[in-house]
Amino acid sequence: MGKYLIRRLLQVIPVLFIISFVVFCLVFVAGDPVALMLPEDASQEDIELLRESLGLNEPFHIQYFTYMLGLVQLDFGDSFRYNQSALPIVLERLPATLELAIAAMIIAIVIAIPFGIWSATKKNSPVDFLATGGAVLWKAMPNFWLGIMLILLFSVTLGWFPVSGRGDLSHLVLPAITLGTGIAAEMTRLIRSSMLEILNQDYIRTAKSKGIRNFFVINKHAFRNALIPVVTITALQTSTLVGGTLVTETVFSWPGLGQLLIQAVNTRDMAIVQASVFVIAFIVILMNLIADILYKILDPRIKY
């Protein structure tokens, strides 16, 4: 296990390297930050001065080198807007996003596992129809629309939950539902098809032939096998989850990383954009690493 972990961690290095390059290139595709920072009537001299001070006149490879030098010290430069180092600002927002993402994931799992198993074991029954049909319907609903509808119903009309912002648990309910149910829809389908395949395996017949109760055949023998593809795909879905938080955080004014990133993009605050994208990419890599480790715990056939 230890050896595997080290090998797997070493693989992260080139990935981070590529990401850092892509993040660096973002600056060049996003337009001229100088034009945005200075008032419209700024003199050519002022523009040149700022350009020089930001190092934007240097050739591409020098700029990249300077950037990488900063990066290894975890310095993404200063935010134009906040006039502070970018990374601390990003990291300060991280807990809010993690809180939302974890809550959404819990909701997704709590919905998807029972419904996925249930619809697989009762294939073609009304339950199955309801679960699969509901999943398609739910997946078809865009996050921002669902969020607004939930706010309209539960906050504005019924007044059960706050409209927006972060605070106690009641603030978390609506955004977590918005984000979580969308993931649940996809996961339900995934667990269903995975279970259907496993339930046809020879070892399930063996388990039944031993006289084991159906409940244990399904939840012990079948579900653990069905979990393997679910874990993999869920980890790959982390990027979708992050994308979802961007939208959901904006709808609910949730002070997380997503909201910060969207604001930074709007104001072309490139240091914040770079730091945010880097942090998000890092989280995705981390999730995949965790999935690989889980994979091993679940499936003894995988070699260390």
Partner: protein, 327 residues
């Protein structure tokens, strides 16, 4: 050897598919005495496996037992509750499957899978079940059973896995063991070992065996009675000596002729032309009509009954209508 342990009477298991009803098992009757070993022989698609799954109560949807009785020690398994059926399964009736490679759950240790049924049926504690499991592993000839106990199936060879399956099936001393082609997936030397092992264990415990196979060599070596099935029906039913010496159904004869024999030098192995018709496609006459070298016009118009042509020898063929004839 007198009392019947299992009596199957006019069993009909049909599959209700989108393309209509498929009668996979169509009026099968036979019985197994205590300590007896019977073989069910036939090509793929003859209904052997569905018959055994019907006895286990494991025919999955869209299949269903539509008629007939399965009496196990007098109890009709087609009418008892799921709960009672579960108490029999793995306990009084156990089953070994064809594919040892896929029949064990890859995510659980061998020990976990064997002790599971011991804990369930014998109400044993975890430690007791472990002791018993290791004892079973030793009985089926597995070296270092303590180590294998905590191994995962993928760490074992095919022959070892089948031994594990046998250990699992016999762990609760079943009265009836159904073995569905237990040696098909194994190579020849391992086959012989597994058969020898099964024979020894059976003699020890007086277990009855229903052996499903298409290997007539295995039949000659192991069994007392033979049932030949074709297209969901029993076509010949008699003791093992008679089957090999005086087969009365052209299909049985065809099966025997297509087995290579060591003392005969032939350029080409004989075979039965064609394949088993899809269940339900032949609605009139004998189901073997299209492939039978001896078919007459009657065989195409009327379906023969399974008839006792002499004590303990039943044949479903018009040839023997007026009495036994040599074929």
């Amino acid at each position: 050897m007198t009392e019947a342990l299992l009596e199957v009477k006019d069993l009909k298991t049909y599959f209700h598919t989108e393309n209509g009803v498929v009668p996979s098992v169509d009026g099968v009757s036979f019985s197994i005495k205590k300590g007896e070993t019977i073989a069910v022989v036939g090509e793929s698609g003859s209904g052997k496996s569905v018959t055994s799954l019907s006895i286990m109560g494991l025919v999955g949807s869209p299949g269903k037992i539509v008629d007939g009785k399965i009496l196990f020690e007098g109890k009709d398994l087609t009418t008892i509750s799921n709960r009672d059926m579960r108490k029999l399964r793995g306990n009084e009736i156990a089953m070994i499957f064809q594919e040892p490679l896929t029949s064990l759950n890859p995510l659980f240790t061998v020990g976990n899978q064997i002790s599971e049924s011991i804990k369930l049926h014998q109400k044993a504690s975890k430690e007791e079940a472990k002791v018993k499991s290791i004892e079973m592993l030793r009985k089926v000839g597995i070296p270092r059973p303590e180590k294998v106990y905590s191994s995962y199936p993928h760490m074992l060879s095919g022959g070892m896995r089948q031994r594990v399956m046998i250990a699992m099936a016999l762990s609760c001393n079943p009265k009836l063991l159904i073995a569905d082609e237990p040696t098909t997936a194994l190579d020849v030397t391992i086959q012989a070992q597994i058969l020898q092992l099964m024979r020894n264990l059976i003699h020890e415990n007086d277990t009855s065996i229903m052996l499903i196979t298409h290997d007539l060599g295995v039949v000659a070596e192991m069994v007392d009675t033979v049932i030949v099935m074709y297209a969901g029906q029993v076509v010949e039913y008699t003791d093992v000596y008679t089957i090999f010496k005086e087969p009365k159904h052209p299909y049985t004869k065809g099966l025997l002729d297509s087995t290579p024999k060591i003392h005969e030098l032939k350029d080409e192995l004989q075979s039965i032309e064609g394949t088993v018709p899809a269940p339900g496609t032949i609605t009139k006459g004998c189901r073997f009509q299209t492939r039978c070298p001896l078919a007459t016009s009657k065989c195409f118009s009327e379906e023969p009954e399974l008839k006792e042509i002499r004590p303990n020898h039943q044949v479903r063929c018009w040839l023997h209508e007026e009495g036994e004839v040599a074929i």
